[in-house]
């Protein structure tokens, strides 16, 4: 049954991937740029949803791994002339390794300490990059060669988003989902049942971090220049968190709904960055209080209510 639903998900994803692959042949540059951002954000949001919605670890460290991916990608491209697939694989490994390295500190105690630990990690990495001249200091690094054309980068971002979506489909549609939910709902009970909470949390954290680092790499190459305040900026963290809360935390379609909403809001308020963030904050407060399920949760509630009303 579950495997059947998994193959259904895979079919939908494969279909969407093939359709979206041909977008560059008819979409305008502006539309392609937006689609690129949707793919990057979708990867960030799926990863955050896995950590927070599924495993129950509230992360404020998205920026750590976006920044890590950016710097590793530039190092590989500038010093070794590495092609993008190689860069992506190495970035994914780097993200997972950093997650594993910091996990003894972050998982030492439960709950909110993971959250503040991830926040401290992002700040620490940002300050290190600002102060270490090897990594370009506060002024950052330029890509030595011209970045690939947008259409090619769009395909890379689409591929990363596909990998992220496939990983989430597997997490949601196989036995893994039961294990993850057991750890989220009651770590001690899960441990009694033979699940190792530490390993499950670490695996989820490493997977999310690997995906975020890949997204960071692609978006940095698209920019052509990186500096610590942008690459490790709190904005990445705010974006990931707000997209998932707005879309619907813990819902499969939550990240996608949230990404589309946030990208649209961002386009409408592109000239008012402060207002954009402040409005996002207000939306977050209202949703957390009145609609913890976000957009998808509201629709789900409407739908179940209407079916219940129509049934005799």
């Amino acid at each position: 049954m579950r495997l059947h639903r998994l193959s259904g998900d895979m079919g939908i994803l494969a279909g969407a991937f093939v359709l979206l692959w041909f977008a560059p042949s008819f979409a305008s540059d502006y539309a392609l740029q937006i689609s690129f951002r949707v793919m990057i954000y979708l990867t960030l949001a799926e990863s955050w949803n896995l950590l927070t919605g599924s495993v129950g670890l509230v992360s404020l460290g998205t920026a750590s791994f976006v920044g890590l991916g950016s710097y590793v990608a530039f190092g590989l491209a500038n010093h070794f002339g590495a092609p993008i697939p190689v860069i992506l694989v190495v970035c994914a490994l780097a993200g997972a390794v950093l997650a594993a390295l910091v996990s003894p500190a972050l998982f030492r105690l439960r709950g909110v300490y993971f959250t503040v630990g991830t926040l401290a990690l992002a700040a620490l990495l940002q300050l290190l990059m600002v102060n270490l001249p090897t990594f370009g200091g506060a002024s950052g690094i330029f890509l030595k060669h011209d970045p690939p054309p947008l259409a090619s980068l769009y395909h890379d971002a689409l591929s990363v988003a596909l990998v992220a979506s496939l990983a989430m489909a597997i997490c949601a549609r196989t036995r893994i989902s039961v294990i993850i939910r057991a750890v989220r709902d009651d770590e001690d009970a899960a441990a009694q049942m033979g699940v190792r909470p530490y390993r499950v949390k670490l695996a989820a954290f490493a997977l999310a971090s690997a995906l975020i680092a890949m997204a960071g790499a692609v978006q940095a190459i698209n920019l052509g220049a990186i500096e610590p305040y942008g690459a490790f900026g709190l904005q990445w963290t705010i974006d990931a968190l707000s997209m998932v809360i707005i879309g619907g935390i813990g819902w499969r379609l939550g990240p996608l709904a949230g990404v589309l909403f946030v990208v649209m809001l961002g386009e409408m308020l592109a000239n008012y960055p402060e207002a954009h963030i402040a409005i996002t904050g207000v939306i977050l407060i209202v949703l957390i209080r009145f609609a913890p399920g976000g957009i998808v949760g509201m629709f789900a509630r409407l739908f179940t209510r209407s079916t219940r009303l129509s049934s005799p």
């Binding site: 509230v58 105690l109 401290a120 620490l124 300050l127 102060n131 402060e274 963030i277 402040a278 207000v282």
Partner: protein
């Protein structure tokens, strides 16, 4: 190799500054202890205190340090509706909902500050802030000594409040076991509201001191929040004297880090220390469960 005077001055400056950081961290600590909430807006409340001091000086001409009680009350009063309308309704929903709400409050306020006050770096300019205080080869800024004295006096006052008053007893009971405290007739929600206001006031007062001693901008809050967290971990949650000690240790280490590695490394020391303490000595947190 820097001479003795430079090193000794840096060490003393670090300790004095650490005392001020201890007051700021104490505000974070009591809210964490009583409400189980890491107030991610703590740094932004600090920046709010700095702006309050700045505009108090501009509008009235009085020294904001003399009006600290008034400023503290004003900032504490702002915290009450935040608790009443944003945090209290989420009390039954686990710590994450409150945490993320305060994160949202932080980004709203920070961008509001940019909008109202601009992103420029400011400071509360007082003539005495730049005066040096010399004792032999050791020289520290006078404002560090003033700030330290105010911070330690307030930390001791809060210690007395928690240890020796009826409110303090309610506060300790609510921190130890809110449900049991409520059963015994403690108005836990009122205690939490007042604790939140007190914590915010600590950040606000710290902000006025920081505003006189240093420069600040709307985005200054993040570093103070993270340094405060490092101090809370270092000193042990719910341990008031420990928080002062933790602040002074962090201040000392930051000074030494700045002296040996360069000024840019001051804040790195705080965050690295925070993560290291989490790895090697998390008892700071565990002590809290018993406090």
């Amino acid at each position: 190799m820097p001479d003795f005077g430079t090193v000794a001055s840096a060490i003393l400056s670090g300790l004095l500054l650490g005392g001020m950081m201890g007051l700021i961290a104490l505000g974070l600590s009591i809210v964490l202890g009583v409400m189980r909430l890491v107030n991610l807006a703590h740094g932004v409340f600090l920046v709010m205190g700095a702006y309050a001091g700045l505009y108090f000086l501009k509008l009235t001409g009085f020294d904001p340090l003399l009006a600290l009680p008034l400023l503290a009350l004003g900032i504490a009063a702002l915290a009450l509706p935040l608790y009443r309308y944003l945090l209290a309704p989420l009390a039954q929903r686990g710590p994450e909902a409150q945490l993320m709400t305060m994160f949202a409050v932080a980004i709203i306020l920070q961008n509001l500050f940019v909008f109202v006050f601009s992103a420029d770096t400011r400071s509360i300019e007082r003539s005495y802030a730049t005066l040096p205080l010399s004792l032999g080869a050791i020289t520290v800024p006078l404002i560090y000594v003033i700030g330290f004295a105010i911070a330690v006096a307030l930390i001791l006052a809060i210690h007395g409040l928690i240890a020796h008053t009826g409110f303090g007893r309610d506060l300790r009971a609510s921190a130890a076991d809110p449900a049991a405290a409520a059963t015994l007739g403690v108005n836990v929600q009122r205690v939490q509201m007042l604790t939140f206001a007190l914590g915010t006031a600590c950040a606000g007062v710290g902000g006025v001191l920081i505003g006189v001693a240093f420069q600040f901008s709307p985005s200054s809050g993040g570093a103070y929040l993270l340094n405060s967290l490092a101090i809370v971990v270092l000193g042990g949650l719910g341990n008031v004297p420990g928080t002062l000690a933790g602040g002074m240790i962090l201040g000392l280490l930051q000074s030494l880090g700045g002296l040996t590695l360069g000024d840019g490394y001051r804040d790195i020391v705080g965050m690295a220390l925070f993560l290291l303490v989490l790895v090697f000595r998390p008892e700071g947190f565990l002590a809290a469960r018993r406090a």
